[in-house]
Symmetry: C2
Subunit: 274 residues, 2 copies
């Protein structure tokens, strides 16, 4: 197994594979010698290298655990050098045209299917990696018409072996779903923090505000890239929220508790079902 | 001590006073016999009654733990019947004109100061009451120019004895602060849930969305009343958020990750300081 990028996600994958005895050898590729060494010491990988040829020698599973931008930039060389028959997947959280592009790169001799394990943390880096990160969580796999059946089956088995429930959907649908349940909530939590203009007010926040804004503490660099990559779906959510707030404004303005109550009830019922 | 309304807040107050040996007898007043009996069995009160005269006999501290509407409606009779020299406070979460009104009712012979312990839970009722609910939390007390100094001192000592840090501010400022850190966040969390139109999408939510929307599971009846009572400050927050989202929309539309990154960085830094 070869993992490209050994941060929180890649590191956790390595740990999980080793923990469950699913890989003969976990090879990690990264640009930084010190971080590869740290990953090895933490038991996330067996060996680390900065050399692509060395990373790919004899591998039968290649996993990209790199951010969107890096993944599309480096994919052509990695796909070209991957051994024929190799299974390939990525863990990129916005699909866009990536799946079509990488499926074309895979050609007839390699098996590629795209995946997105729905797990993570506001922490980043291999130091935050955990072997049970994927356990009991959902993984979305996003095949396109040209995706080979064995690629879907292989990638599905990988995540299932790590304790995940796998759901399959088209890349466009995937991007809408994650905009609604992940990318837009991050944006809104950040807006809520920034809305509280006077920092002194933050000391008055109870557990309610603390929970509501927790995800706003996540990596701004990573999220700026994700949100930009999923621009269209995120803009749809933003427009929807502005409409919703206009409606709420009318309810509040009316001064009639019954109007706001009905609207809150819908939210409360749905939240309690989650 | 007499507690008017024995739900989560009133019940927790009774438990805390008894736990710390701060009251000779905790008397609970409520409209429902069964709920008073439950409060007594849980140890939240020593005795319960539906009779105001009985509830007030010989008390030296009277605490309203009733919702805003109920409190202003019943206050005239309670203040009139309270023993002279009695210390009075409320735990109402929106002050509006309540403090001025009740200060006038207190007259020269009773000591009234208004308070708002910043604690709670999405659960309601005496069944959710806990003796340590107030411990280590903030309590806002909101005197007006006519509030008597001994009333401020007495109410402050009460909450401090229960482990709270007490901060004093004017009622208008209080209402703005809680709109920003509590009432508006509840509204926004509810908007986020309602925004996810398709309930099937909720199964894709990770811990991020779960945390972000937790408070939306709170009592719609209670919150509809709070939000309506704090209409002006909540509308100010709503307008502010619509402006913020317009700005974010421009950032996202630009397709430049650096623009959204700067904005997310501000939120992330502030969140990590909380």
């Amino acid at each position: 197994v070869t993992i490209v990028g050994v941060g929180l996600m890649g590191g956790s994958l390595g740990m999980a594979l080793k923990d469950k005895g699913l890989a003969k050898e976990v090879m990690g590729w990264g640009r930084n010698e010190g971080r590869l060494e740290a990953a090895r010491e933490l038991g996330a990988i067996d060996r680390g290298t900065r050399d692509r040829g060395e990373a790919l020698a004899g591998t039968d599973l290649l996993v990209f655990a790199t951010p969107i931008g890096v993944t599309s930039r480096i994919a052509p060389e990695w796909f070209a050098d991957a051994p024929p028959g190799c299974m390939i997947t990525d863990m990129v959280s916005v699909k866009g045209t990536l799946v079509d592009d990488l499926t074309a790169l895979a050609g007839p001799r390699r098996y590629y299917a795209s995946s997105h394990p729905l797990c993570g943390s506001e922490d980043t880096g291999v130091g935050a990696a955990r072997p049970d990160l994927f356990d009991g969580k959902l993984c979305l796999i996003t095949p396109v018409p040209k995706t080979k059946k064995p690629a879907i089956g292989g990638v599905q088995s990988l995540w299932q072996a790590l304790g995940m429930t796998v759901i399959s959907m088209a890349p466009t649908r995937h991007d809408q779903v994650v905009a609604a349940v992940s990318h837009f909530p991050l944006l809104l939590a950040s807006a809520l923090i920034n809305q509280i203009g006077d920092e002194k007010l933050l000391k008055f926040s109870g557990t309610g505000l603390l929970d509501t804004t927790r995800i706003a503490g996540s990596s701004p660099v990573m999220w700026a890239e994700i949100i930009t990559a999923n621009k269209k779906a995120v803009l749809g959510q933003l427009d929807g929220m502005m409409e919703t707030l206009m409606l709420v404004k009318q309810h509040v303005k009316s001064g009639d508790p019954a109007r706001i109550k009905g609207w809150l009830q819908r939210a409360s019922r749905r939240r309690r079902k989650m």
